[in-house]
Symmetry: C2
């Protein structure tokens, strides 16, 4: 027997190997559903709205079958439109164009094997330990999560507060982050962050030092820790907390994936607190996701003479973030009686996770194609448009159009052998 | 001829001597009005509501005549009640008891002589240079002002921003105050403050250093500078700005007068900015007055590790103060197109000042709410916010907001069992 053209027994063995509890009770449908979601996690870029919609409306298996069987865009769009707002044929065609270059029969198998090797597990919305707040992302929700860590920490996400901030933290920022993280752990919260240098790293470290639970969301696969300078820290989080990514093992982090990772931090947590952030810090992106989702948002003030606090003041002044100055005030953002589950209660709450994921309308994501495209280019080696399409997960037509615009903008250049990013581009974006 | 039992020619000479422009065009009525207001400024404590009401309803002269002629409380109360809310006989009797001990025939003469000696002038609502925003205080408005300084600075109050803060300022607080004051002067604002050590002093100093206008409101007479360590600073303000008090020369500052002085700072200014303040700093009282009057309120954040910024964070967090981090943002609180007059325009605006000071009983809705709320509170038994809402007929949200402001203002206090009026409130309001 085969499953999407692969040997079913091998698929089943691997899926069970990376499942919580060993997947002993999985029937063929469960195996197929999980394998389809694992495949989708490598097929579509994080936050791909049409992928999310197809999975939610058709189910992961049927949606994948449609791609594998090369449904034409009109049929695919009509099927989705039957159950909600109309999907344009062009949008659908572009989506299929994004997915197809990555549809190789054994990609998912390789990711599963790598996961098994690293002790990573596959989490889907059917799992009791699935962080249920992620379902608030609707069509932008991840199709699956790849996790390395403890069940206790996974369950602890229900009591999670995100502590985020700039990589370029000051001594003041690190001090208040340490106080915040330790203080919130003492009050029973789980510390959620992004494992970056600066504020993120301090938030995780202080939580571990206080024997608390901590959760790191990564922008690449959980088999390759990023940043590499945090190898040891992430190793300790795997032992005592949990490291999570929506991308399969082997996926490198990209700028686009960092931005999308931020939406998971904001969505998974009860509240988000920005501890130190420059005027244009990436942590403001996490704050924006939190606000969009209606999650409580706090920011810690600092000296107005410190550029590292300018983003926090901006959030308080212009984005209605609550001014929080100590762990008590941070805890007030998300009182713990609002947390749904404890580890003991999880066992008895099998249903709730999958239920709230019904699709609802939401506006299309911003035009960030350029970011994804630049991620897929190199300043050194030239790449063909087809290659760029496969790497970026964008449709070939989108890639061609964007390359033209970016060339006008002086950010990419075409050589005899293909497209390159302009040398200064990396530093400009950093 | 006599005026309130004094030799009329001496009264006229002194009143003219302390008037802007020498009072050449004053007729007998004008002299009498000014002398009555000068007398009232020594008779009633700052903010005495019944004195303010009597002066506004009867005119300063007739109100003073009633006191001089020993009207009994019933007659006085009935006369005031005829033109507004009923005044209780007991309240009236207490008010008369407060005023009578100070009614000595030559007290006002001595104050006038002292003013003339120090070059201080008497300002009444009829004067073009009267700071018209003070009229928003209604019955709590001062009966007269005693001023030492330049006409330009007096006119500049129309473009005034109050910069206030703690005496116990840090180096950070002094630095940001200097930047704020100099920056606002550069943008055409006049700096209003209280001449205290710390933030206030720095605000005045930086304004003078930037060749700007600055205004100091004192809690005692303008003939005796307080604090004495600021003698030289206040002397320089007299030369280049203006020093103002509602108390006649010879009056010492008291705690009550400091609190009431704060209401003048808040009322006279377009907006109030608190630069550094401890959790219970007196500058929060100024902020409370500004909020009660509906004046824009800003607060500058600082390190959460600094106790000297705790009051600012409290204002931002709990009292809706705008987080301001630089002079531009402070200026945004009160754009200068809202300022009514410049020194050149003052000359041509003789009418408007006098007209807006005509006693009207139109108290603002906010003021009315506060009165109803205070009436619904007791000084002895604590009452819940719900109870107060029911008794006052105000919405619970209004009650909560007003209670917060009144607490900042020191007029109510929260106990374990609920809210109480501060014990001295009855006499204070009367």
């Amino acid at each position: 027997m085969t499953m999407f053209g692969l040997k079913e027994s091998e698929v089943a063995t691997l899926v069970r190997a990376v499942s919580v509890g060993g997947g002993e009770d999985f029937d063929r449908d469960a195996i197929e559903e999980r394998f389809a979601r694992a495949t989708w996690s490598g097929l579509a870029e994080p936050g791909d709205r049409l992928a999310g919609r197809a999975i939610q409306q058709l189910g992961a298996v049927r949606a994948l079958t449609a791609v594998v069987e090369h449904w034409d865009p009109e049929r695919f769009a009509a099927t989705l439109s039957a159950d909600g707002d109309a999907v344009g044929d062009d949008d659908m065609a572009q989506a299929i164009d994004r997915w197809m270059p990555r549809l190789k029969s054994n990609t998912a198998l390789i990711a599963l094997r790598q996961a098994a090797r690293f002790g990573a597990r596959l989490l889907t919305p059917d799992d009791t330990l699935w962080p249920s707040r992620l379902n608030d992302l609707d069509w932008h929700a991840p199709s699956a999560l790849w996790v390395r860590g403890t069940d206790e920490a996974l369950a602890g996400i229900e009591r999670g507060i995100a502590l985020v901030g700039a990589r370029a933290a000051t001594g003041y920022g690190e001090h208040i982050t340490m106080e915040a993280s330790a203080g919130l752990v003492d009050r029973g919260y789980t510390i959620v962050s992004g494992a970056a240098y600066g504020i993120d790293g301090m938030a995780h470290r202080a939580a571990l030092a206080s024997h608390g639970l901590t959760v790191a969301f990564l922008a690449g696969g959980v088999d390759r820790f990023y940043p590499s300078g945090h190898d040891a820290l992430l190793g300790r989080i795997v032992e005592n907390g949990v490291v999570i990514s929506e991308l399969p093992c082997g996926s490198p982090p990209t700028k686009w994936r960092f931005l999308q990772r931020n939406r998971l931090i904001a969505a998974a947590s009860m509240a988000t607190v920005v501890l130190e952030a420059g005027w244009r810090s990436g942590s403001l992106n996490t704050a924006g996701h939190a606000a969009t989702l209606g999650r409580p948002l706090g920011a810690v003030p600092g000296p107005v003479t410190s550029a590292a606090s300018a983003g926090c003041h901006r959030l308080i002044r212009d984005y209605d973030a609550v001014c929080v100055t100590n762990p008590d005030q941070m805890a007030e953002l998300a009182p713990l009686e609002h947390a749904l589950l404890t580890i003991d209660e999880v066992a008895g709450a099998e249903q709730s996770a999958a239920s709230s994921s019904a699709g609802s309308d939401s506006s299309s994501p911003r035009d960030t194609d350029a970011v994804r495209l630049l991620d897929a280019l190199s300043a050194r080696s030239a790449r063909s448009a087809d290659d760029v399409a496969a790497r970026s997960g964008l449709a070939i037509s989108t890639v061609r159009a964007q390359l033209g615009l970016l060339e006008l903008d002086g950010r990419v250049t075409e050589t005899e052998r293909g497209w390159k990013r302009v040398a200064s581009e990396r530093s400009r974006r950093a």
